[in-house]
């Protein structure tokens, strides 16, 4: 990967505030094809806001966000044809069957109905859901819903994938499959923008880790690079150190103390 290559995502001076507070304070970022970005930070750091801005879900920011070399504020939604998105909450039209939902999503991306249907059916089969394909999504378990969500984000062969906790609810075997899928997609030049709270996974699959805290990027680099800058050996440790959180022992201690308070019940 050469840095002379055109970035697929470039963000410059991104500020965003909701009515009462600043959420993003000047994010600058360039993402290149083939990268798997682990986008991490504490709750409320501005992770989802960044992703939502890039998807055009949130307006009213300042700064420029360009995707595939075009400013997304120009009002043309066409860039979304090459983007896939897995939101944090598994929101779907769940009174539909998986077939109905997935072909519909395919059609939104401009695919032919039959083509979307055939492709979705194959993908469902590969994830062991062939029998659920004509069942209503409302009856699915959490893991099954997550798989449908993953398929709906990749059905149209996007160039960028935005994933928010994409592995939640999946069993260990499915996690292995999905991680492998991400790696192969990245090898084919796709970009994956991945946010999660599970540091072990981020540490293993990301080629580049971006840590934001309080609306600012506080660390950016591969895991090896981050480890060099820090005295901690794990991403979890680095996360704690950079977000200035060192009180976990005290809080846990107090928590346990409160549990033990009061008279014993029988």
């Amino acid at each position: 990967m050469s840095l002379a290559e055109e970035p697929v995502i470039s963000i410059a001076g991104l500020w965003m505030n909701y009515s009462d507070r600043m959420v993003l304070r000047g994010i600058d970022l360039a993402v290149y094809p083939g990268q798997i970005i682990g986008y991490i930070g504490p709750n409320g750091a501005g992770k989802s806001t960044t992703v939502k801005i890039m998807l055009g879900l949130v307006e009213g920011y300042t700064g420029t966000v360009s995707i595939f070399g075009r400013d997304i504020a120009d009002g043309d939604a066409a860039y979304k044809k090459r983007i896939g998105y897995v939101p944090e909450v598994a929101e779907m039209y769940d009174s539909l069957t998986a077939r109905e939902y997935l072909t519909f999503i395919g059609e939104l991306y401009g695919m032919k109905r039959a083509e979307a249907d055939a492709k979705a059916e194959k993908l469902m089969g590969l994830l062991n859901l062939e029998r659920a394909y004509d069942m209503r999504i409302a009856s699915f378990s959490k893991g099954m819903k997550q798989k449908v969500l993953l398929i709906s984000s990749m059905l149209h062969d996007p160039d960028i994938l935005f994933l928010d906790e994409p592995l939640s609810g999946l069993d260990a075997n499915s996690v292995m499959i999905v991680k492998e899928i991400f790696a192969s997609l990245a090898a084919r030049g796709k970009t994956i923008f991945y946010s999660s709270h599970i540091m072990d996974v981020v540490e293993k699959i990301s080629s580049r880790i971006i840590l934001i805290d309080g609306g600012d990027i506080v660390a950016d680099g591969s895991f090896a690079e981050l480890k060099e800058q820090s005295k901690e050996g794990s991403l979890e440790g680095i996360f704690n150190e950079l977000t200035g959180f060192d009180k976990y022992r005290d809080i846990a201690g107090e928590f346990v103390a409160v549990i033990g308070e009061g008279a014993r019940h029988e």
Binding site: L55, A77, V89, E91, S95, E107, L108, Y109
Partner: protein, 552 residues
């Protein structure tokens, strides 16, 4: 997914859509999907009835017979000649009530669907297509509903009252739809700006309840509707009529076709035209604000205040053990918060409140009020106990029935306190307020001589509540998923319960025949209460010692 008739109709207009910058294939698939999903919801009017079978794709806007019935009833108002102001005001009043409450109760979830944002906005769909899809969807719904309710009377009016009447009527129906839609939208906007999403959901819930009460009660009165249409009340223009939208809509008929020519009428006729158009303009202006406010629905509300003092005090007074008091408070707060429970039970509350009076007034037509006053018509008050039949049956259901794993996880030794606490909470929260309101009106109707009788009624109803509970299969409070299919299992016990209720009323009647009978009957009932409340819940009676199996 069905290929809907409306879609094939729209296909003919696709050239027009293209010129407006709408992506027609995408518009079509969004609409098709939305219509399919509508077919899988249960409308409020039918919520009490059968549930549609799981995998049939019903046409989304199946003509609901109940609306058609109402539509046929409205014919009565377009038949009489003259006196248009009165008859058309009533007709528009009924139509506006039905259409707006139905729109709010059944279509709010569609108008306020937050998933649209996450699912559709992230896909390459332009805003114009999305907005068009949303507007068309609402229009299709409103059009079908309006046609069912107004269609029959429109058709009859053409033949009976002539072309001019028909044209005014048709134009006004469109204006009325406009007014309802925009007004609803603006109300939502206002609520969302001032309160939060939870409040809005509560308000929608109350509208659903009002609709259900309106339908159940209206059903009892539908025969009287025809009498009303024949009434020739001369409707004098008055200032307060300016605030009644149905009167606006009725004025053009009177102004153009009737005999009255007052300037008031002209002004109101103009209002009927101007207000909907004006509000529509405001609404379009505020549309972006509406979209942004919708986001509030997803936000977490700020913590509510602790409203647990009343149930805490009550539970201390009426419960024997700590466990019983605990489940009393649990049931109390679930009944207060669970919207589904309220939707199923509160309409019955309204019906139970009114039913005794409907019976009384039906017997009134045969005699004078004085005759009723001295009769034993007060025994109709027993019908208010219908509430307990429904409430006890509904207490087992919850939308979050899966949370019932908690019963398995906590160490409760026996189930008796659970059931006793549950039933006491239902009696205190539902039956007692109903009884107090009912008694107050009965005392006013029948005089103070009724006091001892009311005490008998209360004592009987308390025994009856336990019987209701015992006649139904046991189920822990809020532990099952509501399914209409299972409801059928209860039909048998419902008849038995009704029979017992009539038995109680009959006993009461017999006792009134004996001199001083009620003074003997009252102590008997007190003992019966004491006995049945202490015996019914203990595990010796409830056969399985352990917790009933949960259907998760």
């Amino acid at each position: 997914m069905n290929d809907f008739f409306v879609l094939r109709l729209l296909d003919r207009l696709q050239g027009g859509f293209r010129r407006m910058g709408v992506d027609y294939p995408v518009l079509r698939s969004i609409l098709q999907l939305k219509l399919t999903m509508d077919g899988r919801r249960t409308p409020t009017v039918l919520a009490g009835g059968k549930e549609s079978k799981q995998n049939t794709d019903g046409s989304p806007f199946r003509i609901q017979w109940i609306y058609l019935l109402l539509g046929l009833a409205l014919i009565a108002f377009v038949v009489p000649e003259g006196n248009y102001l009165f008859s058309m005001s009533i007709a528009f009043g009924i139509a506006m009530f039905m259409i707006s409450t139905t729109l709010i109760s059944d279509f709010s979830s569609v108008m306020l669907d937050l998933r649209d944002k996450n699912i559709l906005f992230v896909r390459p769909v332009n805003r114009r297509t999305l907005n068009m899809a949303k507007s068309l969807h609402i229009m299709i719904y409103l059009f079908t509903l309006t046609l069912t309710i107004m269609g029959p009377s429109l058709l009859v009016s053409l033949f009976r009252q002539g072309v001019l009447f028909f044209l005014i009527y048709a134009a006004e129906v469109i204006l009325m739809d406009c007014l309802i839609l925009v007004f609803t939208g603006l109300i939502y906007l206002l609520i969302l700006r001032v309160f939060d999403g939870e409040k809005l959901k509560d308000i929608i819930n109350y509208v659903q309840i009002i609709l259900s009460i309106g339908i159940t009660v209206g059903y009892q009165l539908i025969s009287r509707l025809f009498d009303m249409a024949d009434l020739s009340i001369s409707f004098k223009p008055a200032w307060w009529q300016y605030f009644l939208a149905p009167v606006w809509f009725a004025s053009p008929f009177e102004r153009l076709l009737g005999e009255t020519r007052s300037s008031n009428l002209t002004v109101m006729a103009v209002l009927a035209l101007v207000i909907p158009v004006l509000l529509l303009a405001v609404y379009i202006k505020l549309m972006p604000l509406f979209e942004r406010s919708l986001q509030k629905l997803a936000e977490q509300g700020v913590g509510g205040k602790d409203s647990g003092r009343l149930p805490r005090r009550l539970s201390e007074i009426v419960c024997r053990s700590k466990e019983e008091a605990m489940f009393f408070r649990f049931t109390w707060s679930m009944m207060r918060n669970e919207r589904d429970f309220k939707l199923k039970v509160y309409p019955t509350f309204g019906l139970s409140l009114i039913l005794p009076f409907i019976f009384i007034f039906n017997s009134l037509s045969s005699g004078k009020m004085d005759a009723v006053r001295n009769s034993r018509a007060f025994l109709f008050i027993y019908f208010s106990a219908l509430l307990m039949m429904t409430a006890v049956q509904m207490l087992r259901y919850s939308t979050s029935y899966k949370a019932a794993w908690i019963y398995k996880a906590i160490p409760i030794r026996e189930t008796a306190p659970v059931y006793r606490g549950m039933l006491k909470a239902a009696v205190l929260r539902l039956l007692l307020p109903l009884f107090v309101i009912e008694s107050a009106i009965f005392l006013w109707l029948f005089g103070v001589r009724l006091v001892p009788h009311l005490i008998i009624v209360l004592l009987s109803l308390l025994v009856y509540s336990v019987l209701c509970f015992r006649l139904l299969p046991k189920a822990l409070p809020f532990s099952e998923k509501y399914s209409a299919a299972r409801q059928k299992d209860f039909t048998g016990s419902a008849f038995l319960q009704l029979f017992i209720l009539i038995l109680f009323a009959g006993l009461h009647y017999l006792v009134t025949l004996i001199p001083f009978g009620i003074y003997i009957y009252a102590p008997i009932l007190v003992i019966a209460n004491w006995w049945i409340w202490s015996v019914s819940f203990s595990d010796a009676v409830s056969e399985p010692r352990q917790i009933p199996t949960l259907r998760l």
